[in-house]
């Protein structure tokens, strides 16, 4: 189920109808409600990244897509990634800004009391880099009650993207494991049955944490840049990654603000206007 390569006019996935089908598939690709906010985040990542290399003056899209021509590899590439992830996590407030950019879909999925991952994951996948994420599911040991927001900073397709099994195909893979199949068999099922998502920059993929997914070696001529992080309802079940250590509160509903105002008083803290 690979998506077409660029010379085959890839059918870029969008679900302009919003989250129709999410409950059936476990995922949806949605356009950003606030493209200006998404663009500002990408510009900031671009600024942080170009400060870490001998920047040649190209615009953002060319910088990201042709990043492999800077020739970073091995420990040098890893040092670049670590420095950039640190800068993005500390300075760019991606969780809050992506909630603005994709807030309509996220609020529909997780409600008004929202917890967000404290850090953000940044992936730079250069062509032919054998170091990639193997087949896995985030939940368990993460909670099933989390949604992953995966945002490419460039157009992605084929092996420049990543493969994802929908709910039904993931369930079939789990049935194989329950019948005694090896994890290698499960991983091969996911790799063959998974969809290499084709997405334009400007859209985001929302998927349930229990869906199986992974990456192939990027055999396309361009580098993939993507950000991902997790949102959940504040009061939903947590897995191995808990509130405070991994998640922080992003938004409280009016009802919860009133509730915490009363609890503050009950705990002897100063009253606070919940508005």
């Amino acid at each position: 189920m690979s998506s077409p390569r660029p010379d085959q006019a890839p059918a870029f996935v969008t679900t302009d109808a919003g989250l129709d089908g999410f409950a059936a598939r476990g995922f949806a690709v949605v356009p950003a409600d606030r493209r200006d906010v998404l663009d500002a985040v990408r510009d900031d990542v671009f600024a942080e990244a170009r400060a870490l290399v001998k920047y040649r003056g190209e615009p953002a899209e060319a910088f990201f897509n042709e990043f492999h021509t800077y020739g970073l590899a091995g420990t040098e590439l890893n040092a670049f990634r670590v420095a950039l992830v640190d800068a993005v996590a500390k300075r760019l407030a991606v969780g809050r800004r992506f909630f603005e950019a994709f807030g309509g879909a996220l609020a529909t999925l997780v409600g008004s009391d929202v917890a967000v991952q404290k850090t953000v994951n940044l992936v730079v996948q250069q062509p032919d880099d054998p170091d990639q994420v193997p087949t896995h599911r985030d939940a368990p040991s993460n909670s099933h009650f989390e949604v992953v927001l995966w945002v490419p900073l460039v157009d992605v397709y084929g092996t420049k993207s990543f493969y994802l099994c929908d709910r039904e195909r993931t369930a079939h893979g789990l049935a194989l494991l329950q019948e005694g199949a090896s994890f290698a068999t499960f991983a091969e099922h996911v790799r063959v049955q998974g969809v290499d998502l084709a997405m334009r920059y400007g859209s985001g993929l929302l998927f349930a944490a229990g869906l199986a997914h992974g990456c192939k070696v990027n055999a396309e001529p361009h580098t993939r840049w993507s950000l991902n992080l997790r949102y959940k309802n504040l009061f939903s079940p947590y897995g191995s990654k808990g509130l405070a250590e991994y998640f922080e509160i992003l938004h409280l509903s009016p009802l919860s603000r009133v509730g915490f105002a009363f609890e503050r008083q009950e705990f002897g803290l100063a009253p606070r206007d919940p508005r």
């Binding site: 368990p140 040991s141 494991l177 005694g180 808990g242 919860s256 503050r264 705990f267 803290l269």
Partner: protein
Amino acid sequence: MKAFYSVPDTASVREVPQPVQHLAIGGQASRLGGEVVFYTMEDHYTLRTHEVICGKLAEGPAIDGVIFYRLAQFFAAGTIDVGTLRWILERGYTIAFARERIAFADVAALDRDFPLLATHARLHERDRDRGFLRTALPLVAAYERAS
């Protein structure tokens, strides 16, 4: 350089050995621009009352704050011990938690993050049976039978 009291969590030493808790607390001290200069631990009988560290702080040691291993050291039956936290802060000591990487400089900061603390305490009690592990067990069992 700031000086901190370190208080590893007696209740979770079995899961996270004391040397590992010391490393985490030392890292948090470094992030706050300081180092650990003293350490102590609660007795099993003082886990809820915090009598050991409160007794030390009542002597007025020349430190900037106290770093605990985790927030759950102040949880009991699904609630957060705001009273003890406030008692420490009102004596001018910063409070930090290494596992969660959060710090409170004063009572106002504690008040600001009250929803996080109260919710974390509530969820800690509710989710402590770790339902996600139960979910995974049949899969693990099937895998072990096959191997």
